[in-house]
Amino acid sequence: MKRVIIFSFFVLIISSQSLAQGVSKLFLRAQYSVTAIEYIGNKQYNDWMYLDLGKNESIYYSFFNHSRDSIVQSQISLGYSAYEIMENTRNIQRGRKDIFHISSESKTIKHYSVITAEHYYKSEPAEQIIWTISKDTLTILSYKCIKATAKFKGREWTAWFTQDIPITAGPWKLRGLPGLILKAYDADNHYTFECMAIGGIDRNLDMKAFAKFREISAKEFDMLVYKFKTDALTMLENKGIKITGAKDASGNTIDLKQRKSQYNPLEL
């Protein structure tokens, strides 16, 4: 018996990987100032994030972490010892170690991070965010932006996007609007992203740079991050490292024992 095959206008073809493995071109950079209250009751941290965009993919990372890593790499190549590198970079601001690589073609988000000096990444589908677009407008960096709201990863988000840059991208995992998101914040203003500059770049995204990261399941990845953020002392002691004190990226002393109750992650 032949089956009735229903054809519809919604024809899906699962495409094969059209991008060449390894290298792709990035041509636009948006620079975001990020503020976050990652621990309630603590000072907010600030970071400077770059969103480098290609036609079908993007990479989102901390400028401070990237530039510090560049200095570290150059000193490694010059033969500096680990202690010397630590001394030389002690006063350079550190940024977030998280890197997000989003591919519109494969509709996946790869989240790379360094947890207790180990390099991990997880891969997850790029969740479709259901945005509600309003009529409100705002000018940011001379671009006319339109307001949109959505609930995503446990938070109520407000985003301002511009149709003048027709790329469906934004900071972190925020995307899915018909234009680049230039500003976004959650309802509590615990996490804010604001675009400070947009410019052209000409660089290749070489995925070989991520070869040192080991893929683990999303569940395992999230559990490691949670443990590190709430009980780093135990985690490090289990690795044989005894910590007597800690400071945040701005150099302020933090009380590691209070972390769990204060933890306010970006994804709730």
Binding site: F9, L28, Q31, I92, Q93, K135, L141, Y143, I167
Partner: protein, 871 residues
């Protein structure tokens, strides 16, 4: 057949269903190659207000289905399709299109409107501020010193000294290493901004590791972080320029290497283009804590030619020179935390000057003496110097030994034409040698310090008034040794300290004045020896806790002097006991605010032999001076308030300073004018007083979201003093106001503008009834215009105004233009200076009992071509 029918009916049903629900479908392709465009934006807009109704994205095949949510068949809407790198498609529809839309997008380069992405300007970690060079550099900057001036809180004065929050920096590092000690102008004037990724300011920096837990520092340090691509390899630049004025040249060659362990900087310069290169070798003060770690190079010349002083315009406009400079700087590691640094410099500098000077000796406003002279002079200097330091900077011990030597050989010749015609020759030589040793050893709860500085100086000078056959020779020899030992104990927040020291000095002044001039019989010989010794003990109390710091010290001194007048066969000895308490309290209510209150009482004795000559010395052809051959005391009260607010992350800083100094006792100047000649004497006078009250404020703001920098510095000072003139007691009071606004703005990436203005007003009043005022201003407008990716133009316009109370107004206007063309790593520059060919600059100033108006001869219009390259 029957089986097919349901399918086709189903299809029709589906299509009818979609049509009636308002689904718009289509495909998006590129006009270039007809390939589908995935992820294109398909947006439905309300034609009335262009608001978004709904949107979707095309899939991998460029296909889309957009549920418009519109049921009416004749509803109006706009369909907009866009994707980066393509022209936007927009069309008005009056009904849901029944057929699939075929949208073909034409490719179009994407234009970015916003500012060029730059690195974040500043970040903070603990006490360290990290300023990304890219956030502060402008296209027209030739060296890192020009970038430093834009860092909030940093001031670079005309001598090249760097101050942070009004205090001199106490260390200048390159990649964390201190190769240059206080001679950092060689770096700030010659390192290109592209070599530096980051400028770090270490606030409250303690350069001595052994003192880190023991002594708080109020001074900051600067570190330049070398670009990773420039590390561990030779990096060099060369500038070769030639021009016409008549013939001009400008040559500069730099060779640097900054590696993990060693550093080297070699600079060669030569120019006949009015560029002053002597500042490169200047040794700057590194703050009060480092006074005994540096040689004392204060100028002590006794004879002068009354030659041209520098005009308040760029030296390139007034300097006629032929200058050569060589500087070699090395840092070599000897062991872990132990390094040796060697700095060798040589300056050969020939300068000529020409000016017309009118000097008014203010007597009583009615009988003032006015003298007009045209002067020309030529000075030729040879200055070799060497500075060798070995430093062990460890947490357990700090040891430093420094050997310094500098020779300055100057020959000056001059001609003055006025009432008389005078030819003069002056030979001014100075020899300085210093040996400095430091040892700091922290113990369990205390720190032990030992410091010793021994310095030898010789100043042989000779002035010949050739036309009148008059000769004055002076020889000054000084040998000084300063030695201290101290111990500081840490008792929680309290840190008492005891310092004891012994300073000795031996000074010998010999001079001879010979021959006869007009009706004046001149002769004078001096042979004076001054031996002084100072034994002191200074208890210091320090309290240092979070938001409050207090330092109270009270040096107790026993001073002994022995003054021998060899010619007069007199020998006097004196012994003094002195106490000079001082206090400094600093409040830090938050990370952004700082307030300081300080007071000091000083008792000093005149201790320099060059002001003790009992017989006349002819300082210049119309000034004779006689010192006071005795030890005389003076007292001073000084107090100051300082309030600083800074928010480094918002690039804002503001400071307000008030200081008051009152001196009494000591000596006062007595001047007697006879014709154009003056005789100056130092007289003891316990009624003598000098007071100075000054107010100063500055504010600077750099904006993140617009390319605007603002700066404003204002100051007001009131000073008073008294002198004796023509046997009358003259009390002078003067008030000075200074305002310096600065604005810079970038118009996109193609144009940036800097505007600087300095306005000075001085009022002077004396008790003899004369009063006068001078207002002067200097404004500069610099415009950088990028014509293309390879070519740019720099246009500089300056205006100077000088107006005195007799309504004499001098206005000077200058313009210069430079055109740069870049080809790979090379750069060609064509510069035209002084476009309007101004040949004179007039300026008036007050100086105690005189008012001086000078007309400087300027360098005429000149054209220069320079080729630069780097590797």
């Amino acid at each position: 057949m029957r089986r097919r029918l349901p399918v086709s009916i189903l299809l029709i049903f589906v299509s009818v269903a979609l049509y009636s629900q308002g689904v718009i479908s289509g495909v998006v392709t590129s006009s270039d190659d007809s390939k589908p465009i995935p992820n294109a934006h398909i947006i439905l807009l309300n034609p009335a207000d262009k608001s978004i109704i709904t949107y979707t994205f095309s899939d991998e095949n460029g296909l889309f289905n957009l549920d418009s949510g519109v049921n009416k068949e004749n509803a109006e809407f706009i369909v907009e399709v866009s994707f980066i790198g393509f022209q936007k498609y927009s069309a008005l529809y009056k009904a849901i299109p029944p057929d699939k839309l075929r949208i073909i997008l034409k490719s179009e380069p994407f234009e970015i409107r916003s500012a060029v992405v730059k690195a974040p300007r500043v970040s903070m970690r603990g006490d360290t501020l990290n300023y990304m060079t890219a956030g502060f550099v402008k296209e027209q900057d030739r060296n890192i010193g020009e970038v430093l001036k834009r860092i909030p809180g940093v001031v670079v004065d005309v001598s090249g000294q760097i101050k942070y929050n009004d205090k001199p920096i106490n260390a200048f590092y390159i990649d964390g290493k201190n190769m240059l000690e206080g001679q950092y102008s060689i770096a700030t004037n010659n390192i290109k901004p592209s070599l530096i990724t980051m400028i770090q300011v270490f606030e409250n920096h303690q350069p001595v590791k052994a003192l880190k837990e023991h002594q708080f520092s109020e001074n900051a340090a600067i570190n330049l972080t070398i670009h990773p691509d420039a590390r561990a390899r030779f990096v060099g630049t060369a500038d070769i320029g030639a021009g016409v004025y008549p013939a001009m040249w400008n040559f500069r060659s730099t060779l640097f290497r900054f590696s993990k362990t060693s550093q080297t900087m070699t600079i060669l310069k030569s120019n006949k283009a009015g560029i002053d290169i002597a500042t490169d070798l200047r040794l700057h003060s590194m703050g009060p804590d480092s006074q005994l770690q540096q040689p004392d190079l204060s100028a002590q010349n006794i004879l002068n030619l009354a030659e041209t002083s520098s005009a308040p315009v760029k030296s390139e406009r007034t300097l006629f020179n032929t200058s050569h400079l060589a500087s070699v700087n090395l840092l070599i590691p000897l062991a872990k935390d132990v390094q040796a640094t060697l700095r060798i410099g040589y300056l050969n500098d020939k300068k000529t000057a020409d000016n017309l000077q009118t000097t008014s000796f203010i007597i009583d406003g009615e009988n003032d003496i006015v003298l007009t002279e045209r002067g020309s002079s030529s000075r030729h200097e040879n200055v070799p110097s060497m500075d060798f330091t070995v430093t062990s900077n460890k947490e357990k011990i700090y040891v430093q030994n420094r050997l310094y030597g500098r020779v300055s050989l100057s020959d000056v010749s001059g001609k003055l034409t006025g009432i008389n015609s005078i030819n003069q020759d002056l030979s001014q030589n100075q020899y300085d040698f210093a040996e400095i040793f430091n040892l700091i050893k922290p113990l369990k709860n205390s720190v032990l310090r030992f410091n010793s500085r021994t310095q030898y100086r010789s100043l042989p000078e000779e002035l010949n008034i050739v036309s009148d056959s008059i000769r004055q020779t002076v020889g000054l020899i000084q040998l000084k040794s300063n030695n201290i030992v101290s111990t500081q104990i840490k008792l929680g927040w309290f840190r008492p300290e005891i310092t004891a020291g012994y300073n000795v000095s031996s000074q010998h002044l010999k001079s001879e004045l010979s021959d006869v001039r007009k009706n004046m019989v001149l002769s004078g010989e001096n042979d004076i020896k001054l031996y002084s010794s100072e034994l002191f003990i200074t208890p210091t109390f320090r309290y240092d806790r979070d938001k409050f710091r207090l330092v109270i010290r009270s040096p107790l001194k026993m001073l002994g002097y022995n003054l021998k007048n060899v010619r007069g066969a007199s020998d006097t000895s004196s012994l003094f006991f002195r106490i000079s308490p001082s206090m400094s309290a600093t409040f830090i209510p938050s990370g952004n605010w700082e307030g300081n209150l300080s007071y000091g009482f000083g008792q000093t004795t005149q201790g320099e032999v060059q002001s003790m000559n009992p017989s006349f010395i002819m300082n210049n052809y119309r000034t004779l001076s006689e010192g006071y051959a005795g030890i005389i005391e003076s007292k001073s009260h000084s107090s100051a308030v300082r309030i600083i607010y800074r928010n480094a992350l918002k690039l804002f800083s503001a400071g307000f300073y008030v200081s008051y100094i009152h001196r009494s006792g000591g000596t006062k100047s007595a001047v007697q004018y006879t014709d154009i000649f003056s005789i100056r004497q130092l007289l003891p006078d316990n009624d003598n007083f000098n007071k100075m009250l000054s107010f100063r404020g500055n504010i600077s703001k750099v904006f993140f979201d617009s390319p605007l920098n603002l700066g404003l510095s204002i100051s007001h000072s009131v000073s008073s003093g008294n002198y004796v003139q023509q046997s009358k007691n003259v009390e002078i009071s003067s008030r000075t106001w200074v305002a310096e606004p600065a604005v810079s703005y970038s118009f996109g990436s193609a144009v940036n503008t800097e505007f600087n203005l300095k306005m000075v007003r001085t009022n002077r009043v004396d008790n003899l009834g004369s009063q006068s005022s001078i207002f002067s201003s200097g404004a500069s407008l610099l415009n950088f215009i990028r014509l293309s990716g390879k070519m740019d133009v720099i246009l500089n316009i300056e205006h100077y105004l000088n107006k005195s109370s007799d309504q004499t107004l001098h206005s000077n206007f200058f313009a210069d233009i430079k055109v740069n063309y870049r080809a790979g790593k090379s750069n060609f520059e064509l510069s035209l200076r002084n476009i309007f060919n101004n040949n004179q600059f007039t300026h008036s100033v007050f100086s105690e009992l005189t008012r001086i108006e000078k007309i400087y001869t300027l360098r005429p219009r000149s054209l220069m071509v320079t080729y630069s390259f780097g590797f």
